[in-house]
């Protein structure tokens, strides 16, 4: 199988990798570069758990050929702040009980982050539309929608919102 060289930025770091022609972005990032926040729920483009942001757009890594990402900027949940200073979306997901088993969470966060970057004041319909490709089997979606709306209300950048402003689930 022919190999090609791929140049891209992953979470702020420039990388060059030799990839097989048919290799998916999921396989490259998750299996070779240990970006394990990208989950594989189906590997057939139906669950959204592998959602990453490529040049600002949410993409399903399992059905994206790595070779199409030459020169691209790729963000995964690893790019979000760590426990020390959470991103408003992360804080809102915690406050609103939007992460239950957590398996869909990183994909949801990426879909939501791409939405807020493009549309800082989304309506509920915008949020529903943005996460419509992401399956969650635990939460019933409402807490996730509330969390994204709350994060949008908290304003841009990592200012964060004072936690627990609105209990999602009691």
């Amino acid at each position: 199988m022919s190999h090609v060289t791929l140049d891209f930025r992953l979470n702020g770091t420039g990388r060059t990798e030799l990839i097989a022609g048919g290799e998916t972005l999921l396989s490259l990032l998750r299996h070779r570069l240990d970006t394990t926040s990208i989950k594989q729920g189906c590997r057939q483009g139906t669950c959204g758990s592998c959602t990453v942001i490529v040049d600002g757009e949410p993409r399903l890594a399992c059905i994206t050929l790595a070779a199409t990402c030459d020169g691209c900027t790729i963000e995964t949940a690893e790019s979000l702040p760590g426990p020390g200073g959470l991103h408003p979306l992360q804080q809102a997901f915690m406050d609103h009980f939007a992460a239950q088993c957590g398996f869909c969470t990183t994909g949801m966060l990426m879909a939501a982050k791409a939405l807020l970057a493009a549309n800082p004041s989304p309506t509920r319909e915008d949020v529903v539309d943005a996460i419509s490709g992401n399956i969650c089997r635990c939460t019933g979606y409402q807490p996730i929608i509330e969390a994204v709306l709350a994060a949008a209300g908290a304003g841009p950048s990592g200012a964060g919102q004072p936690g627990g402003s609105r209990p999602g689930v009691v």
Binding site: S37, K39, G41, L86, F93, G102
Partner: protein, 526 residues
């Protein structure tokens, strides 16, 4: 949210510091930062992948199994067949002393459901393992299959599982789990109406976002480690130890992070074989369902069929219930014998019924083995019972909420399982639900309480009828219609709550005028 601690005043005196307030999951921070480690995030150097050759037949004899061609495929390291498995036949509930062993981790003489694994191929990559699994040659002799619980019980049905010797689970010498309380035949004779309905559930797949799987690897000092998403870590550990015939202290299970379970990750199908692969190759071995496998071969909730026959009085009292339950275990027991018990135990519902007869059968068919799934046994029973309650309410012309309040257990009532009701709160729950839903309840039902008018005559175990075949079993063992269901006779009536109507009967629904409804059984689609 409304807390009515007064209803539980005699039960708990803690002040509920946590319940009712938002709280943070301890794993939430790991989830939102992508740092929670699921089993598949433990990919180890040199890890091998396991994929299964699966039966294309629902039921077939295995004449021969040939792995030679598969073994020649690129990347293949080892192929497991049942010859490699120390304990060739196992059952999950044996850990609770419920046998018999009835399921091979890898099939040998027969396959009993479509998708049953017959060989496990271990290779350098998942795609190499899958490609080689497709080259395992099995000579099958297809056998007649049965997919319906009642057909499986009929004479002449194909025998699904030889380890049981018949198509149902034996509960200590009985072909069903039974509940016997009072005299249902007398209850039906006295009832103003008798209604029998059939309720059929479907298998339900849990469809967790993370499919089931594990990674097993050699550890030091002859031990093996297993990173798994089982929902039952020690149960899976003991199951693996038994199948591998190893002392359990040779196994170290790491788990707790489960990407959705809902009951679907307790069957311990991956761990024993991945561990066996790690033992035989001395390398890490990963086994995980693809999404398609998760949907096709992981165990769903069993499809239950319920026949519920109730006797009800014009004033709304349910005086007798006769329920037959057929719990579809699929080809193997897994946890279904327990699910059928739960269905039986749940059958009277949260209602006081003085005469109850339940037969719950756990039946084997050539469907995917069913197992735990979110209240299995109970949710299906609730569906049947609550739809039945609506029908009964309509029949006697009562409001469905009021009908439930009227028949609810009250403190002191004897349940069909011979436990006295304590801290009942159904009446208050229905009252609260009606208030929130703006559902008008008449004053009489608003005034009812779980703490009043229970017990007394309702608190004793009713006398059993003279020994006889009962409503469901003639001498042949086949179901016969209850004797005398159509006859009218009066003996002592079951005691009514003190606030039962004494003057006028409730307004009648159009159906009520039909008097006794004969059994609907047989006129409905099977």
């Amino acid at each position: 949210m409304e807390f009515r601690k007064d209803l539980f005043a005699n039960e708990r005196d803690d002040d509920l510091n946590e319940v009712g307030r938002p709280t943070q999951r301890q794993d939430a921070q790991g989830h939102v930062t992508g740092r929670s480690r699921f089993f598949d995030d433990y990919a180890l150097p040199g890890m091998l992948h396991m994929k299964f050759a699966r039966s294309p037949h629902h039921h077939a004899r295995v004449r021969s199994l040939d792995t030679r061609e598969a073994a020649q495929m690129p990347g293949v390291v080892r192929i497991l067949t049942s010859e490699d498995v120390p304990k060739k036949v196992h059952t999950l509930l044996i850990l609770l002393d419920l046998g018999p062993d009835d399921e091979p981790p890898l099939a040998f003489d027969k396959v009993r459901y479509r998708g049953e694994p017959v060989a496990a191929v271990i290779a350098e990559s998942e795609s190499a393992a899958a490609a080689a699994a497709a080259k395992v040659r099995v000579d099958y002799e297809p056998l007649p299959a049965v997919f319906d619980v009642e057909e499986a019980l009929a004479p002449g049905a194909p025998l699904v599982n030889e380890y049981h010797g018949r198509n149902w689970y034996d509960y200590n010498g009985y072909d069903f789990r039974k509940i016997r309380f009072g005299d249902v035949e007398r209850g039906f004779r006295e009832a103003d109406h008798v209604v029998e309905e059939r309720y059929q559930m479907s298998p339900i797949e849990h469809a967790p976002t993370e499919t089931g799987g594990c990674i097993a690897a050699p550890d030091t000092a002859g031990r093996y480690v297993c990173y798994t998403n089982t929902q039952a870590l020690f149960f899976s550990l003991e199951t693996a130890a038994r199948i591998l015939d190893l002392p359990s202290n040779r196994l170290h299970f790491v788990g707790g992070t489960v990407g959705g379970g809902f009951g679907g990750k307790v069957d311990s199908v991956h761990e024993p074989l991945a561990l066996l692969g790690a033992m035989l190759t001395q390398r890490p071995v990963r086994s995980a369902y693809s999404r398609a496998e998760e949907m096709q071969v992981s165990s769903p909730r069993g499809a239950e069929r319920f026949y519920v026959k109730d006797g009800v009085m014009d004033d709304g009292r349910i005086v007798a219930r006769y329920a037959r339950i057929y719990f579809d275990a699929g080809a193997y027991s897994r946890l279904s014998p327990y699910g059928a018990v739960k269905a039986a135990a749940h059958m009277p519902g949260p209602y006081y019924i003085p005469n109850v007869w339940v037969d719950a059968r756990c039946v084997y068919t050539n469907r995917t083995p069913s197992s735990a799934m979110r209240g299995f046994g109970v949710t299906g029973a609730d569906f049947a019972l609550e739809v039945q309650m609506d029908k009964l309410a309509r029949l006697v012309g009562m409001d469905p909420m009021e009908f439930r309040i009227f028949n609810a257990y009250r403190d002191g009532d004897m349940k069909a399982h011979r436990r006295v009701t304590k801290n009942a709160a159904l009446i208050e729950c229905v009252q609260a639900a009606a208030r929130i839903a703006d559902w008008p309840l008449s004053e009489r039902f608003q005034a009812m309480s779980s703490t009043r008018d229970g017990g007394g005559e309702r608190g004793v175990i009713p006398p059993a009828p003279a020994p006889g075949p009962g409503p469901g079993k003639g001498a042949s063992g086949r179901r016969v219609p209850p004797a005398g269901a159509e006859a009218a006779a009066t003996t002592a009536r079951p005691p009514a709550p003190a606030d039962a109507p004494t003057v006028a009967s409730p307004a009648r629904s159009p159906l009520a005028g039909r008097g006794r409804m004969s059994s609907l059984l047989g006129t409905r689609r099977r």
